[in-house]
Amino acid sequence: MKKLLIYMLSAVLVIAPMSCEDALDVNTDPLAATTADPSAVLPFVFVQYGARKTTELGTRTLDVTQFISNTFNSPKRGNTSIFLTGNTWGMYYTLVLGNLLLLKNDAVEAGPTSNNIAAVATIMQALSFYELASIWDDVPFTQALNGKDFEFPEFDSQETVFKGSVALLDEAMALIDAMPEEGNFNLVTGDLIYGGDMDNWARFANSLKLRILMLIRNRDTSVDGAISATLGQPLIETNSQAALFRYPGTPGQINGWKDIIQSFFAPTNELAELFGPSPVFRDLLVNNNDPRVDVLFFDPTGTGVYTAPEYGSFPVAGEALINDNALRADMPNIWFLPSEVSFYRSELALLGVVADDANARFEDGVRQHSMFWGGVGPGSIPGAEIRLDADDIEAFIASLPDLGGLSDADALNQLYEQMYVEAFMRSVYAWNHVRRTGVPDLQPPPGASISTILKRFDYPPDEVGANPNTPSNLTTDTPVWFEKP
């Protein structure tokens, strides 16, 4: 017995260390993948982008642009919270751009049959960088996403980022053009926007390019040639081509703004009496007898007066609300509508950059936008509960003054007002619109610490802490580059 024990102990002492290396080979996480499947990574990028664009960045800038009178933790009084800035920055750079770059690198390596993946990734890169620069002005671009060579990325001017984004869109379109006839990667699963339809992606890329060029043009009209050329390319011309991130509307997959209401307050905004239109937005629709009032607003008094809540305050009893049709579970996150293209065409015609019928394009825009919200059939907004009568829309369009009969300034003002209406629920684009055109004339709310409306975000503390190249924060009412000095 004792000898046996000695033998056993000796055996353990001798054998045990010998089996070390094999036994130690357990350091591979069994619950993670080592390669990226575009059909799983692309959905993550779209959904994560859609999540933050709708809730945090989306809702908190909605009262900066004064579509709604108030929201929670809004930066409208000048203070951009570290959560808003940090979550937004991290969403763009690490969750969206970081994943897109890996996807793109893999796709480029895989060759032309993966060009569609590379093109979608590149267009999403352009969209992200353009929005980053829109929010912060100077952001890392040329040295971004390359920690190996640039541990502390330098910040590029908004002009550089915008022009770089345009170049990315050109790159994406070249990738699409070089796609082989067949054998392409099947993007039906991965592409939550167009289901793999690369013609529509090309339209979105061109349209986005037009939007960015219009911002650059505000400071630098040398892009007029590029703008004219872009107008000749396929653009988003019908609502069925609109770039939308759709929410199925089933639990866990609903519009985030609606989720805030139903999780915190009551099943719907009309019951919660929470979000109401700001006086500016209310006046533009109600005073013009715009039929879109019906699809966007709710008047609890039933009188059709639509009393707007005071800007900076939530509605009190009896004041107008954003209605449950607009704030519904399957209300998509809007990236691009054909009405925006039509309005640019009108604007460029008014400015004499291109030859076109400014009023006709203006009317196209109003019609397309009205049909998007309240029309029936393909291209109308998914899940709309309230429909607009086509005759009412035409009657409204007919009631608007002909742009040709107005002074240039009045014509532009009328156009810009309709562009503003068109920008409802479109956070960064709407903010760019009011900063680019100054229409409507927005004033900061009571108690603001800034002299104008919010013009920019502070840099997030994580980037400030980790990147010594982060510029000092300017006051948040300092205009960004594209605003005319």
């Binding site: 290396e21 130690l24 080979d25 990574v41 993550f44 809702t59 920690g147 866990g252 980037e463």
Partner: protein, 874 residues
């Protein structure tokens, strides 16, 4: 207590073979000078021979002597040895006096090895059983507060069953892995804490206890804190943050022989200690207007009894403040601890069986914690050559009503807590007959009683600690011990928000089952050898295997149809998820102790570790240590009343801090959600699509363990016959190759990079003073003063980096590492007037003007100190 120790020593010490010879018999009774009780286990030896005996349980002995000039030598560890000439006497009774210098000085060191304190070349601080059960704490770590030098104890909150953080000799790791290793009866156990929720402590976090909190003070014989690297060196790559060695109680016979039974009950009450110093002059509201629905602003009018509608009830009242309104919400917590233990021992075996029940209610309404501990400890001496010991502890903890910690979760501490015109009594009741939430300030905030009573934060934790040890003594002075320990924890949590909770109106729940398993095997041989009359050598060699497995399975469900039915099938959305990690460690270690004439001891140790978390092929690291102890009072023959004992010690050691699992590979992680604002996430599969994203941390395929090098000097003095003890230690430790998830600019596409970077050093001094101020027979006053000062300085970071964010709190406050400084508080200051230092006010809106971010100084205390007075009336 001294007697307890003594019994322990009997069980541990080798028995001397009795021998019989011709002659007459001398007998007698040996008693303790302290209490006059019989002393068992005293060695009685005929001087100059190996013949001798041992006193029995009553202190009686009998020995045969042949000549009248025979001398009897009486010795027992912990007592001063004595000699008696036999002469013509046939009865020799003896009183033995405690050796104050020596008693309590056999300590359990690394790997469960017992050594005499005088031999140790490094500092060890201990707490004995009696000190742990006075003013009982439910988390044993809290009992160490103030009792051990160099140990900093931070209780995270007054939350029932909450965690307590312990750090030894300051902070050595930038990565936050500063938790000492807990070792119970020679086997490492887990002291992990799993808060749940997100890493930023914003959503889903609950402060459930740390793993070591389950150690039952009633079952603990002693706790020794191994502080420096020399003390912990035998733990190699797990040693850098110190080691806490817990020894559980063993069986003892009752005073008259036979089993002893002890029953122990205690009760304790807790009240809220302090709440913020609120203003009570201005009402809730904004722009000087009263607002009964104000939940955060106190910018209403001055309170002068004006007629208003009351908050919550909307009754017309005269406006008044309710100072201390939130105190009404808190309750008096009670703690009941009942312990029953039975134990027995004879020459061949000992056992102890103990049952402890802890029943506690907290200061939050509905907060309750019940813990049942059953522990068993038994030892058998199968023969002269084979002994075994078995210990098992089963600990079941059931708690409810733990406070919500994540700020994005519906929380009792809402902004309403700050409004002074809210009468908390109006919150009652919080629910109507239909199950709706009622009596809230607005329609979007919660009633704190609803949160506390309707939303569950339940935990059931079943913990099993088992330990089997076999010691084989094939030849004299050689022991071979194999020890297998297992720590198994099943921690099940149910966290719910009832349907109707604002922010989660449709209800949600999370059911998580967390398992932690740890297997530890040690096989070690210990050989003692007398080289010459003056020179003793003790050699130890061992092999260790350790495997730690963590797994978590969680179901998170939202949108319940029937309230209070927490099933995925009663929920419209359910996201199941899994976590898993495994790590293994092999170690080979050895120790050589060379002692010269009992006053000079040199100890060398070495350990080689092979870790699974490091790159295969370069996962082997060696950790050496050397230490020396010189009892100069013995060496120089100093004796006398004033300086009765003096020891100088010095040591040098190198230990490590291993990497965590899965830090080497680049991975894409499947996601169950895409994060949205306020925790309102979109869930995957989304419209039938899965979602994978890349890791946010750039891994490091060439990771090496953190390396700590420590030098320590110490002085141990006993003055005035041991009435005053003084222990001083100086240490200097450098921790390089810090394994850090370094925050990098997110504009690189990643948030972090795993690197071996930087160096943190600690330099410090510890002073422990122990004095019997009054010893007047029936009244004693003992005072202990512990003082320690540690400077944990960041020596270097990555080149070109000004600071690293170690932790970021919910507001813009950060904890940062800045080279040349202690860890700093970092945040945004206001712009200030240079002359007065007062914040500048923006004239346009009357607000303070935000300034640039800056450091606000060290987050560590300048020193920590404990003062313990013990008054004993006999």
């Amino acid at each position: 207590m001294k007697k307890n120790l003594l019994v322990c020593f009997i069980l541990c010490s080798a028995l001397i073979t009795e021998s019989w010879a011709q002659g007459r018999t001398v007998s007698g009774k040996i008693v303790s000078q302290d209490d006059g009780e019989g002393l068992p286990g005293v060695n009685v030896v005929l001087k100059g021979t190996t013949s001798g005996t041992v006193s029995d349980i009553d202190g009686m002995y009998k020995i045969d002597v042949e000549t009248e000039d025979a001398v009897l030598l009486f010795s027992s560890i912990g007592f001063l040895s004595q000699e008696r000439i036999v002469g013509t006497k046939s009865v020799i009774d003896l009183e033995m006096a405690a050796d104050v210098q020596q008693l309590s000085e056999v300590v359990v060191t690394a790997i469960g090895i017992e050594r005499e304190a005088r031999e140790l070349g490094y500092a060890i601080s201990g707490v004995k059983a009696a000190d742990l059960v006075v003013a009982r704490e439910t988390n044993i770590i809290n009992s160490l507060q103030g009792k051990v030098t160099g140990v900093s104890i931070t209780q995270s909150s007054g939350n029932l069953g909450g965690s307590t953080k312990i750090t030894v000799r300051g902070v050595s790791s930038l990565s936050g892995r500063n938790n000492p290793l807990w070792v119970v009866d020679g086997v490492p156990i887990n002291n992990q804490q799993n808060q749940g929720g997100d890493a930023n402590r914003i959503t889903g976090n609950r402060d459930f206890a740390n793993g070591a909190a389950i150690i039952n003070p009633d079952d603990v014989e002693s706790i020794n804190v191994l502080k420096g690297a020399s003390a912990t060196a035998l733990y190699g790559s797990r040693a850098a943050a110190g080691v806490i060695v817990v020894t559980t109680k063993r069986g003892k016979a009752g005073p008259g022989g036979g089993p002893s039974v002890s029953i122990n009950s205690s009760v304790r009450f807790d009240n809220i200690f302090k709440s913020p110093d609120y203003q009570n002059q201005y009402a809730g509201g904004d722009f000087m207007k009263y607002d009964s629905s104000a939940t955060s602003q106190n910018f209403g009018p001055r309170i002068v009894g004006q007629p208003v509608n009351k908050s919550i009830t909307h009754d017309p009242v005269a406006l008044q403040a309710f100072p201390g309104n939130e105190d009404d919400f808190y309750e008096t917590g009670t703690t009941l601890i009942n312990n029953f233990a039975i134990s027995d021992a004879d020459e061949r075996s000992d056992y102890r069986l103990s049952l402890t029940s802890l029943n506690q209610t907290g200061i939050l309404p509905g907060a309750q914690l019940d813990r049942l501990t059953a522990s068993f400890n038994a030892g058998f001496k199968h023969s002269d050559k084979l002994k075994s010991r078995f210990t098992a502890q089963y600990i079941r903890t059931v708690s409810e009503g733990t406070g919500v910690a994540g700020a994005n979760d519906p929380n009792i501490i809402g902004p309403a807590f700050f409004v002074r015109t809210t009468d908390f009594r109006d919150y009652l009741p919080w629910i109507d007959e239909s199950g709706n939430q009622i009596n809230t300030v607005t329609n979007d905030d919660n009633n704190p009683y609803w949160i506390q009573n309707e939303n569950k934060n339940d935990r059931e934790d079943d913990r099993f600690l088992g330990n089997f040890e076999l010691t084989f003594t094939p030849i004299e002075n050689l022991n071979i011990t194999s020890r297998v320990g297992y720590d198994f924890d099943v921690d099940e949590r149910l966290i719910t928000n009832r349907v109707g909770t604002r922010q989660v109106l449709t209800g949600d729940f999370e059911n998580a089952v967390i398992q932690r398993r740890q297997l530890n095997i040690d096989i070690l041989g210990h050989y003692q050898l007398k080289l010459t009359d003056d020179l003793d050598l003790s050699i130890l060699g061992g092999w260790n295997f350790n495997r730690r497995v963590f797994s978590r399975e969680v179901i998170a469900s939202t949108d319940q149809s029937i309230p209070e039915l927490f099933l995925p099938s009663n929920s419209l959305v359910s996201n199941p998820d899994r976590d898993f990690s495994e790590q293994k460690l092999f170690g080979a270690y050895g120790e050589a102790v060379l002692s010269y004439r009992d006053w000079l001891t040199l100890t060398l140790t070495g350990r080689n570790d092979w870790s699974s978390t490091l790159p295969l092929g370069s996962n082997s690291y060696f950790y050496p240590s050397i230490s020396a102890a010189w009892v100069f009072t013995d060496a120089l023959g100093i004796s006398g009343n004033f300086l009765s004992y003096g020891k100088l010690r010095a040591s040098w050691a190198q230990v490590g801090n291993d990497a965590g699992p899965y830090l080497l590979d680049f991975t894409f992680l499947p996601r169950t959600v895409a994060s949205g604002q306020y925790g309102l996430d979109l869930s995957f599969p989304y419209d039938g699509r899965l979602g994978f994203r890349k890791t946010n941390t750039i891994p490091n395929q060439e990771l090496i363990p953190e390396e700590q090098t420590t030098i320590e000097f110490g002085l141990d003095l006993q003055l005035w016959d041991g009435r005053v003890g003084l222990d001083i230690a100086y240490f200097n430790s450098k921790n390089k190759n810090q394994i850090l998830q370094t925050p990098i600019p997110e504009s690189t596409g990643f948030g972090f990079r795993t690197l071996n970077v930087g160096q943190v050093s600690q330099e410090g001094i510890e002073i422990a003073l122990d004095a019997d101020i009054i010893d007047a027979g029936d009244f004693r006053w003992n005072a202990i003063v512990n003082f320690s000062h540690v400077e944990s300085t960041v020596d270097e970071l990555i080149e070109g980096t000004e600071r690293i964010v170690i932790a970021s709190a919910f507001s813009s406050v950060q904890l940062v590492a800045v080279p040349g400084k202690e860890f700093q508080l970092f945040g945004f200051d206001y712009q200030r007037d240079e002359a007065t230092g007062r914040p500048l006010i923006d004239p346009t809106n009357g607000r303070r003007i935000p300034g640039e971010a800056k450091t606000f100084g060290s987050v560590f205390p300048d020193y920590t100190m404990g003062l313990i007075n013990t008054f004993l009336l006999l």
